[in-house]
């Protein structure tokens, strides 16, 4: 069952992107792209050739590869829908976070490899916000760990979560909210970053991949969708942490993800992107929020 969910993760993640974009287009009163648009894009890109800058080295090609591989591997530890993950050990969420960090590291290096000042700018922003969102993520997970008394993702998201909600509801709520903010930041969504303007200067993630084309770009887009799906699943499970098993769990997860996608789309259509200077404040705020949650449990 858990393996099935892992495969769903690999298969369905582009769909989640579709949901988000669909929501935005509906709210904007446009027809918008079909739900499966991203699959089509990926397929097209994979068949294309690619163009490389003369300044780039093998790092440029390795970047997308490593970050995609890291994202996939990270999925092995996430207990989708609260069902035990394929791999699980105490403190595995550290590895989970570290793999995502590895993905970021690879992307950033690939960006710097081009020597383009724009991509350098994007890389700088990416590492800045990444290093600020990392503590927030850990504080959320620690809150859950303290509440469930477990130290592995499978345990934290597993059946124990329901009981934890009854005992430590407020703390978990805070953690969930903070986690949602982190998810938006990590996936470069509004209000942190605007995934579909094409004014290079305003962006973080998109500007880092300006030079990537063809299959490389395909890997990047797919990796991005995986990351969104990961955080979505994590957020959904923590937010809807009630006792479920088997297929029901899968159902809850998928519905929850649908809701997550809609929510993200909703936010992107009603909010504007923050000024760069204010982004760190929001992330620190998320950390403070989840830290407060943790303190609630510690005292």
């Amino acid at each position: 069952m858990s393996l099935a969910l892992f495969l769903l993760y690999l298969v369905l993640s582009p769909l989640l992107m579709g949901v988000v974009n669909r929501t935005k287009s509906i709210l904007a009163g446009r027809r918008g792209p079909p739900l499966l648009q991203l699959y089509a894009d990926l397929w097209r890109l994979l068949r294309k050739g690619s163009v490389y800058s003369r300044t780039t080295s093998w790092v440029f090609v390795a970047g997308p590869v490593v970050s995609l591989a890291a994202a996939v591997t990270a999925g092995l530890f996430l207990a989708f829908g609260g069902l035990p993950a394929p791999l699980s050990f105490s403190g595995d969420f550290v590895l989970f976070a570290a793999l995502l960090a590895l993905a970021r590291f690879a992307t950033v290096l690939a960006a710097l490899d081009t020597g383009s000042s724009f991509e350098g700018m994007g890389a700088a922003r990416e590492v800045t916000f990444g290093s600020l969102s990392e503590p927030a993520l850990f504080l959320c997970l620690l809150t859950v760990a303290r509440a469930t008394g477990s130290s592995s993702l499978s345990g934290m998201l597993g059946p124990g979560l329901a009981a934890a909600w009854t005992l430590a509801g407020p703390a978990l709520l805070l953690a969930a909210i903070a986690l949602f903010v982190v998810a938006l930041a990590e996936n470069a969504r509004i209000p942190f970053d605007d995934p579909n303007t094409h004014l290079e200067l305003t962006m973080i993630h998109e500007v880092m991949v300006l030079d990537h084309s063809g299959p490389d770009l395909a890997l990047i887009l797919y990796g991005a969708s995986l990351k969104l799906y990961l955080f979505g699943a994590l957020f959904v499970r923590i937010a809807l942490g009630f006792e479920v098993t088997g297929v029901a769990a899968a159902g809850v997860l998928l519905l929850g993800l649908l809701a997550f996608g809609v929510l993200v789309g909703l936010i992107e259509s009603v909010m504007a992107r923050l000024r760069m200077a204010r982004v760190p404040q929001l992330l620190v705020g998320a950390s403070v929020l989840s830290a407060f949650g943790l303190v609630l449990l510690l005292r």
């Binding site: 780039t56 699980s88 793999l99 960090a101 503590p135 760990a145 303290r146 130290s151």
Partner: protein, 658 residues
């Protein structure tokens, strides 16, 4: 047996420099002989250490007729684990030195370097197995002074003299603090043998705290006491920097561990204090690193950061000891000691790399470099491995030790007492990890990627074979520990038991679970590598014959290297967050007149403690001393008066007040 091996290794290493001194006629051969001797000694020592890791605790004792002194040695798993870097890094360094600092071209200064380089190695090895205070102190000071000499290798350069002196002063003050520390311990325990001191079941008072932090913190480079470190590491030859930051600092940690181990149940306050210091060192260390422009200074500040991480683990272990929680001791100490080893490996690797860059380009200014990946591909790959490792990213060794520390915080999280608060070390560690990754993204990205930012390194060539070999050895260590952490867990288990003086059985629970988790880490790491390999293979097939062009400049068609992002601009957003701790100094030459000739802007972030606090304070006290000296007019009548006054004062003291 194991101890004998270690001591022989130590002696061989200590005397290795004689080869260089003796065969000065044929410098190349002399250096090979010295290196061979050092490597052989290190080999013996490592054998002994490994034997001690699996075998029983060995101790030996011989008379030494100096006051309070004896030649008492003890080799337990903890010492053995510290011995691994003590022998491994200098050996690799001496191989590196064959090409980096050849005797043939540097002559006498290279001879001096080799002699004291060996001496440092030997002293550190003896220090690690010393079982009595005076022997410990003697080895300690020999290490410190030889360290001073090798930092001073290029003693004609102004800043080298300056930083070497700062190092010497700091080292000496630390040593004096240790005098006091051991004198106190000795007087309380009635003996200077570590065993007897430990048996005395002392409880440390604030005075001992202070001396402990001052004496060992200075050597280890804990944050407020790190001031000597960046300069010394930056101005020493690179393989010396590698040894200093990879091993010499760890002697401070070792002493800290040893002495703290004497206290059976330290108060919780001690553990939390250590934890706090670790947090400060880690965060501010990496913050200062981000703000550096000099490659080696940057690496030096990362040593402060990593010492902080080690101290975090150590603090957890102390807390576990106070709370009587063996698992916490196991995880905390295990993490700390493993990070000691790991940091030695990747920091050595990185300093070697930095040295190679320095040699190839003639500058350490990050913002002047760029695109070296093409000129020195092998150096680049090895340096990249080091960078990934130090950023605590899987699948390399840095991650493993940090993971152990995280496990420690999780263990504390489970407790219902005040202990649980120590979990706040985890987000700190996360922040530090993120910042470190950012910092090394900057280093690798700016130095090796993109294209050259200045004439420097236009004609850079790949580093010499010995240098690459030395780097490859250390890189292999990083990869192996990263992929198969399971093999080292048992050693950590025994070390932790030895430190806490507990029965290993008590700690076997967490050790076993950690080992099994380590197995899963191996599995996932292999999975990751397999995935990367597969994708990479596929991409490699696809990329052949791809079109090549300029970097997309968003419509701008004539990009120049000068337009690239620099290290400073890359780090700016982050350093802004720490502006409160920095006192940047800027040299600005604004454009003037209707036809400005030239303008320039330069800024650097000096060390706050040294440049903003210490040196002004010293200057002030010197001025004060100068004022007081004015009182001393050379008049002979005044001198006679002094005698008379002293007589009167003493008389009145004796007959009126005493």
């Amino acid at each position: 047996m194991s101890l004998a091996l270690v001591l022989t290794g130590a002696v061989l290493a200590a005397l290795s420099g004689l080869g260089a001194a003796a065969l000065r006629r044929t410098p190349a051969r002399a250096q090979r002989v010295t290196t061979a001797a050092l490597v052989a000694g290190a080999g013996l020592g490592l054998l002994g250490a490994l034997a001690a890791l699996v075998g029983p605790v060995v101790s030996a004792r011989a008379g030494w007729s100096a006051p309070f002194a004896a030649l008492a040695f003890r080799l337990d798993p903890l010492s053995a684990l510290f011995l691994v870097p003590v022998f491994a890094i200098p050996a690799a360094g001496s191989i590196y030195g064959l090409a980096y600092y050849p005797q043939a071209s540097h002559g006498l200064s290279s001879v001096r370097l080799q002699v004291f380089y060996g001496l440092v190695t030997g002293a550190m090895a003896v220090l690690t197995v010393a079982d009595t205070a005076v022997l410990f102190l003697a080895a300690w000071e020999v290490m410190a002074l030889s360290g001073f000499v090798i930092v001073l290798t290029e003693h004609t350069r102004e800043e080298v003299q300056r930083s070497a002196f700062v190092y010497l002063a700091a080292a000496h003050v630390g040593t004096l603090a240790l005098f006091a520390l051991f004198a106190l311990l000795g007087s309380q325990a009635g003996s200077f043998d570590f065993a007897r001191i430990a048996a005395a079941h002392l409880t440390p008072g604030p005075l001992l705290f202070g001396l402990l932090f001052l004496g060992f913190g200075l050597k280890a480079g804990l944050m407020p006491l790190h001031f000597w470190l960046p300069g010394a590491h930056a101005s020493a030859p690179s393989h010396v920097s590698a040894v200093m930051s990879g091993v010499l600092l760890k002697m401070g940690i070792y002493g800290f561990l040893r002495v703290a181990g004497f206290f059976p149940s330290p108060p919780l306050a001690l553990g939390f204090t250590v934890l706090g210091l670790g947090a400060i060192s880690a965060v501010l260390g990496v913050a200062f690193a981000l703000a550096q422009h000099d490659l080696k200074r940057l690496l030096a500040y990362h040593s402060v950061e990593n010492i902080g991480i080690i101290t975090l683990g150590f603090g957890l272990a102390l807390l576990g000891r106070s709370a009587g929680d063996p698992s916490l001791v196991m995880l905390g100490l295990g993490g700390a000691v493993l990070h000691v080893l790991n940091h030695a490996l990747f920091k050595g690797l990185l300093f070697f790399g930095a040295g190679a860059v320095d040699e190839a380009t003639g500058t350490r200014e990050i913002d002047r470099l760029g695109g070296l990946a093409r000129a020195m591909p092998l150096t680049f790959v090895l340096f990249l491995l080091g960078a990934v490792a130090i950023s605590g990213l899987p699948p390399l060794n840095g991650f493993v030790s940090e993971w152990l520390v995280y496990l420690g915080t999780l263990r504390a999280l489970g407790s219902s007492s005040a202990l649980a608060w120590s979990v706040l070390a985890a987000p700190v560690l996360a922040l530090v990890g993120g910042l470190a990754a950012a910092c090394f993204a900057k280093v690798v990205g700016i130095v090796f990627l993109g294209s050259a930012r200045s004439p420097h390194g236009a004609d850079a060539r790949e580093a010499g074979k010995p240098m690459l070999r030395a780097m490859a050895i250390l890189a292999a260590g990083c990869v192996l520990i990263g992929l198969f952490p399971g093999v080292i867990i048992p050693a950590l288990h025994r070390a932790a038991a030895a430190w806490a003086g507990l029965d290993p059985a008590l700690l076997s629970g967490p050790a076993r679970s950690a080992a099994s988790s380590a197995g899963l880490i191996t599995a996932s790491a292999l999975a990751l590598l397999a995935l990367v390999g597969a994708l990479a293979a596929w991409r490699a097939r696809r990329t052949r014959g791809a079109a090549a062009t300029e970097t997309w400049g968003c419509g701008y068609s004539r990009p120049t290297p000068r337009m690239q992002y620099t290290g400073s601009s890359f780090a700016e957003m982050l350093t802004l967050r720490f502006a409160w701790a920095f006192f940047p100094r800027a040299e600005v030459r604004p454009p003037q007149g209707p036809f400005p000739a030239g303008a320039s802007f330069g800024a650097h972030v000096p060390d706050t403690v040294l440049e903003v606090l210490l040196i002004p304070a010293l200057k002030a006290s010197a001025a004060l001393a100068e004022k007081m000296r004015r009182l001393h007019s050379g008049l002979v009548q005044g001198q006679a008066l002094l005698v008379a006054v002293t007589l009167v004062l003493l008389l009145s003291w004796r007959f009126l007040f005493w």
